[in-house]
């Protein structure tokens, strides 16, 4: 499955994406994230350390997550972006929607301080 989701606090979950988020595990990603949304999480930090593949279907599953948490005033943010993922971010200009942080810790601090997702 590759990814791992861990609750951080009552509002936030950290998703270690792992090596791959693509058409092969995108549905499992959506299902797993929904479970955490149902449990009350509305902020998701996507940790892209060592992620080698983020394809169009994987990004689509992230869009799906964004749709679920935005009405709840939640955020989806990217952390520790690998170079392959940065290529995707530049191609799709998703930095316009998903804030990026150098580390998961930086992302957690920003969310705890209530920094809004849009510049």
């Amino acid at each position: 499955m590759s990814f791992k989701i861990e609750p951080h606090d009552q509002d936030t979950a950290v998703v270690t994406v792992g090596k791959t988020l693509d058409f092969r595990n995108a549905e499992a990603f959506k299902t797993a994230c929904q479970e955490h949304v149902d449990a009350g999480k509305h902020n998701f930090i996507l940790d892209f350390t060592d992620t080698g593949i983020l394809d169009s279907t994987g990004l689509g599953s992230i869009f799906s997550l964004y749709r679920k948490v935005s009405p709840l005033n939640g955020q989806v943010v990217f952390a520790s972006i690998s170079r392959p993922v940065q290529v995707v971010v530049q191609l799709t200009r998703t930095y316009k929607v998903f804030r990026q942080f150098p580390t998961v810790e930086d992302a957690l601090e920003a969310l705890q301080q209530g920094i809004p997702s849009h510049r």
Partner: protein, 151 residues
Amino acid sequence: MYNTMHYFTDLDTIVDDVHGLFDRWQSQYSEQEPFSLDTLLTAQLAVHEWVANLQRHARFAVAHPRVGVCVSPSNNGLACVVEDNSVGFDLATYLADNPELTDIMPERGMGLHWINACANDLRYQQAPEGGQQLAFFVGANQDSCLDIQFS
């Protein structure tokens, strides 16, 4: 390893096998290459989307499906070729009928548009020895962009 067609015959593992090939190219990459690492990663992204498409949707009317990948450096980028012995697909009509992404933050259907955005001189044609061939060029300094609506 460049300028050589690498063939894959196991459709169940082809995506990982192709990435293994690109991982080897990445591990051998040096600043002396006539292209940037991001150029190689962009090529890898486009090849992934096409190979994923083949794995999920292509019809192989032969007993032994086969997909080949070749990357050839030049002074200003990478020429990429993916060949297969499937029955083919009308890529030109698809792109003509779907010239852009119209949905806001689409959850599917982006793959071929990603390829089109990454690639210069994208061609889908008969392969020289039969079958299909997707050929494109990724420029060394190109700033690929796909127009996605976010609101």
